[in-house]
Symmetry: C2
DNA sequence: CAGTATCCACTGTGATACTG
DNA sequence: CAGTATCACAGTGGATACTG
């Protein structure tokens, strides 16, 4: 049986999970990993996300300390979002998650050879 | 800026995420990581989860190939759940997630020294 | 441009009762 | 024991219109 290195009886793992669940959190982080981005830019990149939803998600992530919101006192207004160091530190998770997802796909197609 | 190893433009990462989101998936996996378990045993261990919810989550995880359901043809009925190799392979994710969660807690308390 | 305000639909989860 | 069936409710995300 597998052995856990970091899990005792209860662990802060779910905190991490909650931080990146929600339909758009991962795509947002994934986009910002490439550099700062403006509101509209994010909205265009993130498929058919609505303004409200994008705003909500950004607010939550800002509150969680994953991203930073920089407002320029200009007309027309300009707001740029970027990752905080903490936000960037999520990278290894993406990496592991990605590896695992690929492994899953491989095994799943073995298990269901006749499925699409 | 951080650099991704495994993410090209789109990646199977979200598959992994979906597999472990849901209020109870992680606790269930976490419990089964210690060995096979019966339905009632799981229900007792998993705080106030309802039968319906537990059943649902287990069905999904079985469908996703994370767990195995073994029914004993006995009276009274006995059903045991255990992790598949794929289910066990999620361990590194837990590990990384756990590390990150701890890091988050640390940084978050720095950022809000007066918050609870 | 970057939001906010409403209203609405869908989904996930819970409570409760019943069953092979 | 290990579920299934039904109802209800809250949270999340979407559509649309409006604003500093």
């Amino acid at each position: 049986m597998a052995k856990l290195q970091n899990i005792d009886e209860k662990c802060p793992m779910e905190i991490g999970i909650n931080m990146i669940t929600g339909k758009w959190k991962i795509p947002i982080l994934w986009h910002l990993l490439r550099g700062k981005s403006r509101f509209n830019e994010l909205q265009r990149s993130l498929s058919p996300i609505t303004q409200k939803t994008l705003t909500q998600q950004l607010r939550e992530m800002e509150r969680d300390g994953l991203i930073r919101r920089h407002v320029y006192a200009e007309v027309p207004p300009r707001v740029e979002y970027s990752l905080t160091p903490l936000g960037e530190s999520i990278l290894p998770i993406f990496d592991v998650l990605c590896e695992w997802g690929k492994e899953y796909q491989k095994q799943y197609s073995n298990r269901k050879p006749d499925a699409d």
